[in-house]
């Protein structure tokens, strides 16, 4: 029964990673650590902590820059176009719907990043020499939350592409009189 459950989880993970084009090199981390891995955590403790610290800094910058770009798309491009269309007799409801969904997903992306950052900080606070098992388990959680941020980011890009497609449809159907 357990093997069926594990198989099911494995299939779901494989499908999810394939769907988002995300390659999990070693699949979901089993939070249960082996003695060899615990020893490896202890041995590479300082190196791992330095890597995590560097990752936190680079991800903070990435979040800042990417977040600004995402907001720019909405605030300086999508919303102004929607407003301009709303002032005419054209039907821009599809564009408004996508923009609303995009803004909602942006909030979700923001929340997921916060969760990821909190989990990463939780890992960094742990002593990987004295608590390798707890460290490894916390690392697995942080890893999963980072994947969630990646998925949320991809979802936003998908909506941006959908909006672009809808602008072309709008242009074709309402301005050029196409069917």
């Amino acid at each position: 029964m357990k093997s069926f459950t594990r198989l099911g989880v494995g299939i779901v993970l494989a499908l999810t990673s394939a769907l988002f084009g995300y390659q999990l090199t070693s699949q979901a981390v089993d939070p249960v650590i082996t003695d060899a891995q615990a020893e490896s955590v202890r041995t590479h403790c300082i190196q791992i902590q330095a890597t995590l610290n560097q990752l936190q800094q680079s991800d903070t910058l990435l979040r800042y820059n990417v977040g600004a770009s995402y907001r720019t798309m909405s605030e300086k491009l999508m919303v102004p176009l929607n407003q301009r269309i709303a002032a005419t007799n054209f039907d821009g409801s599809a564009l408004v719907r996508i923009t609303a969904e995009y803004n909602k997903e942006y909030q979700d992306f923001y929340k997921k990043y916060r969760t990821y950052n909190e989990k990463l900080q939780a890992v960094m606070k742990l002593d990987c020499i004295d608590e390798p098992k707890e460290f490894y388990a916390a690392l697995a959680t942080a890893r999963q939350t980072r994947t969630d941020v990646y998925k949320a980011s991809n979802l936003l890009i998908g909506l941006l592409k959908e909006y672009k497609k809808e602008v072309r449809t709008f242009q074709h159907e309402q301005l050029e009189g196409g069917e």
């Binding site: 995300y22 891995q37 910058l61 990417v66 770009s69 798309m73 491009l77 102004p80 923001y110 942080a142």
Partner: protein, 118 residues
């Protein structure tokens, strides 16, 4: 008796009481503001924190981009202009591939299961 003593103490040390009350009030406000700073997520985006000085200069500035005007005509020429701006920004976003890569995997962090490897 003790009430009289305390009254007289407060009356005699009005300045000290005022300073102490001001400090307590200021500390309370700082605690509230720091709590808000962390709970709203502002702390996680604040690059002015210690340790982020080096990466602060790498922040991309979006302020220069004026965007698409909210007023004006809706015609093919205007939409083409919009699409040009939109495509440029979308291309930048797609080029980043944010948060990709399994950088927290045991393999990436060199946490090896040596028993399995052997």
């Amino acid at each position: 008796m003790s009430e009289e003593q305390s009254k007289s103490f407060a009356q005699e040390h009005k300045f000290l009481v005022m300073i102490t009350a001001s400090i307590v009030f200021a500390v309370a406000l700082v605690v509230v503001s720091m709590r808000l700073y962390y709970t709203t997520g502002a702390a996680q985006l604040d690059l002015s924190r210690p340790g982020f000085t080096e990466i602060r200069e790498q922040v991309s500035d979006q302020e220069d981009f004026d965007g698409f005007a909210a007023t004006g005509e809706v015609n093919s020429a205007e939409l083409s202009s919009f699409e040009k701006m939109y495509d440029e920004k979308l291309k930048d976003i797609e080029g980043v591939d944010a948060f990709a890569g399994d950088v927290l995997s045991p393999k990436a962090l060199q946490i090896n299961d040596t028993n399995n490897a052997e």
